[in-house]
């Protein structure tokens, strides 16, 4: 808008003030559903066909007469057929305990522009061979959108290393020592620009039920140990007792609140990296969630504002149908709106170290991979989060002929190039593009 003269400025202020009196609250979901159900009345296409003038006169007169009679008989019935604005629901009750948090009531910082590849860089060209690459080890990765690099923690059982993979030049770079974790889950906290590593304390020798946490500042190449979580327990009746510690969790970054959310099988917890504090997520108790399950993967779908959760193990609630793997969607605000479907039956390792779920912003789908042999997309368009769709499978193409795209690494979503990246054997890095359903080497296996 060009610079306003005094009258323009005054008029703008007056119009804004006037417009702000409008009542704008709405239940968006209800409006959307009503809009979609609404069908405009059909028009009579044949009216547009050329007719002789006398026929038009008779036709128009007939229509007018019909309209007059119709209006008299039906009256104002049409008004009931309109869509109606649905008033907003009552606000959630305020948080009463300091240890609880309402995810819908917390807002993330505005995000800076994500990184872009420098001019001349071609992310599709494989990186140079025979460069330094990480030794074999369990690799967890997360994409740092502000640097345009994947942060990787390579664990060896008695220590770990920090590496970055530049998705524009497709090269590895080694940084300092990694966190003292056995097999961490990595989550990039976008509004704090920190990569967060989470792992159960005491693994693998003991199960404590606490989640240890570290945050990584890439610019300073420094991991900072945070406060471990409260004891996460399988609170509902489980074979191991009512308060047995959990031995699994899944974590994801919740974009709107800017918090890292951890699901322990029964409840959700939020970690705020900036103040190093844990809170229990305030979810409604009315929703029956399955218990005695081990979360395998968790992703947040920002398009539909839902968590997509994969669990394995026994599920006690009858509503969820006995045992087996399940995929569920959870409303971050209430923990409800659970849609449960049979989950993926592929082997993910006993500590779920082989599988990962990420949200692909290009296709708007949550993508799951078990290390490269299968890639599945959770399709929300089918029956409102209805099914997994296979994007890639070695079955049918011959497993022996299939390259080992990933070697026990959890994937990262490279939102810069719209692909899922994982680490393969011998220093290699592979990328899967959900839009084209194809794998490619970003860095071919080294000799």
């Amino acid at each position: 808008m060009p610079e306003l003269d005094p009258f323009d400025a005054r008029l703008t202020a007056a119009v804004h003030a006037f417009a702000n009196r409008a009542e704008t609250g709405v239940d968006a979901t209800a409006v959307a559903e009503r809009t979609i159900r609404f069908r405009p009345r059909r028009t009579f296409a044949w009216l547009a066909a050329p007719l002789p003038v006398p026929a038009w006169i008779i036709l128009v007169a007939g229509l007018l007469l019909t309209a007059l009679l119709g209006a008299t008989m039906i009256g104002r019935a049409w008004r009931d057929d309109r869509l109606s604005i649905v008033p907003p629901q009552s606000p959630s009750p305020a948080t009463t305990a300091t240890a609880e948090i309402d995810l819908a009531g917390v807002r993330a910082h505005a995000l800076p522009q994500p990184a872009t590849c420098p001019a001349g860089a071609d992310p599709d060209v494989p990186g140079p061979a025979h460069r330094l690459w990480p030794a074999a080890g369990t690799t967890s990765m997360a994409f740092d959108r502000q640097s345009g690099k994947i942060v990787a923690v390579v664990s060896f059982g008695d220590g770990s290393q920090t590496w970055t993979f530049d998705v524009c030049s497709n090269t590895w770079a080694q940084l300092g020592a990694g966190p003292n974790a056995w097999m961490p889950t990595l989550v990039y906290d976008a509004d704090s620009d920190r990569t967060v590593a989470l792992d159960l304390t005491g693994r693998p020798s003991a199960i404590s039920g606490r989640v240890a946490v570290w945050s990584y500042d890439l610019e300073a190449d420094r991991w900072l140990a945070g406060t471990p979580s409260p004891v996460l327990t399988r609170t509902r009746a489980s074979a191991a007792g009512p308060d047995a510690p959990t031995y699994g969790f899944a974590a994801a970054y919740h974009d709107p609140s800017g918090l890292v959310v951890v699901y322990d099988g029964t409840r959700a917890w939020a970690y705020d990296v900036e103040v190093d504090a844990w809170s229990a997520v305030q979810w409604e108790e009315d929703w029956v969630r399955p218990s005695y399950v081990t979360p395998v993967t968790l992703a947040y779908d920002p398009v539909r504002d839902r968590f997509v959760l994969n669990v394995k193990g026994m599920i006690l609630a009858e509503a969820y149908g006995g045992t087996g793997n399940r995929t569920m969607t959870l409303d971050p605000a209430t923990g409800g709106d659970v849609i449960s479907r049979p989950g993926l039956g592929f082997f993910c390792g006993w500590a779920s170290e082989l599988c990962g779920t990420v949200f692909d912003r290009t296709t708007g789908r949550t993508v799951w991979t078990d290390g490269g042999t299968h890639v599945e997309a959770w399709d929300p368009a089918l029956d409102t989060y209805g099914a997994w769709e296979t994007l890639y499978s070695v079955v049918g193409s011959g497993a022996t002929a299939s390259p080992d795209w990933c070697e026990g690494s959890r994937p990262a979503a490279d939102s810069l190039n719209g692909r899922i990246v994982c680490r393969g054997a011998a220093g290699s890095v592979a990328a899967f593009t959900p839009a084209t359903r194809q794998w490619r080497w970003l860095l071919a296996p080294q000799d």
Binding site: M1, P2, F7, D8, R10, L11, T12, A14, V15, H16, A17, F18, A19, R21, A22, E23, T24, G25, V26, A28, T29, V31, A32, T35, I36, F38, L83, P88, A94, I101, A104, G105, V106, R107, A108, H109, A110, L111, D191, S192, D255, P256, S257, G258, L259, D272, E274, V275, A277, P302, V303, R304, D305, R306, R361, T362, G364, P380, A381, T384
Partner: protein, 201 residues
């Protein structure tokens, strides 16, 4: 996460729809994906769009209607119906907001014109809560209301798109299918009238 809070977290007083709007508006790639999914029939993606832009559309429709909340609500509902059907024709998802507010303005304009033709609706003077505004704002608001009552729905639509939605003549012209010069001329004529109405000439 958020800075400057007590006890760990800042509980925003902003309604939830504003939280959603922030996310959709700040990430153009996300907006494009959401529009594409909604155009393909994804109900949830469409709800996210409703959540993000309903307030903007209602405010514009409210100005076009001259302060008639019912008419504004009806217009926005009709606009969502149009948007749902025609979302696939939106070529540039980054122009989603201007497109939606112009659809809302157009629906409000048409509803307003129908009301004028039927002459069954009186545009009543708004009662302003004196506690809701400063005295100077109060006077200005009343002046604008009086001026709005003397404008046609077409003129109010132009005013709303320019001063509430912040679109320039070229954008309004593109959305209305008219040359930018025509829009500029109409705006200039409208402003001359308003200067007179608001005693600011």
């Amino acid at each position: 996460m958020c800075a400057g809070r007590e006890g760990g977290h800042q509980h925003s007083t902003a309604p939830r729809h504003l939280l959603g709007m922030t996310g959709l508006a700040r990430d153009t790639a996300m907006a494009a994906t959401t529009v594409r999914l909604a155009a393909a029939g994804d109900t949830v993606a469409f709800a996210r769009i409703v959540e993000a832009f309903h307030a903007d559309m209602t405010r514009v429709a409210y100005v076009v209607s001259g302060g008639d909340q019912d008419l504004a609500d009806d217009a926005v509902q009709a606009a969502w119906s149009v948007a749902w059907r025609k979302l696939g024709s939106l070529r540039d998802p980054e122009r989603l907001k201007p497109w939606l507010v112009s659809v809302a303005a157009n629906e409000a304009r048409q509803l307003g014109r129908r009301q004028r033709r039927r002459a069954i609706v009186e545009i009543e003077a708004m009662t302003v809560d004196p506690a809701a505004a400063e005295p100077s704002d109060h006077d200005g608001a009343l002046d604008l209301e009086r001026a709005l009552r003397h404008l046609s729905p077409d003129e109010r639509a132009l005013l709303a798109l320019r001063y509430e939605a912040g679109l320039d003549s070229t954008e309004i012209g593109a959305l209305a299918g008219r040359p930018a010069a025509t829009i500029r001329w109409r705006l200039a004529r409208l402003l001359t009238r308003l200067r007179k109405e608001l005693s600011d000439a």
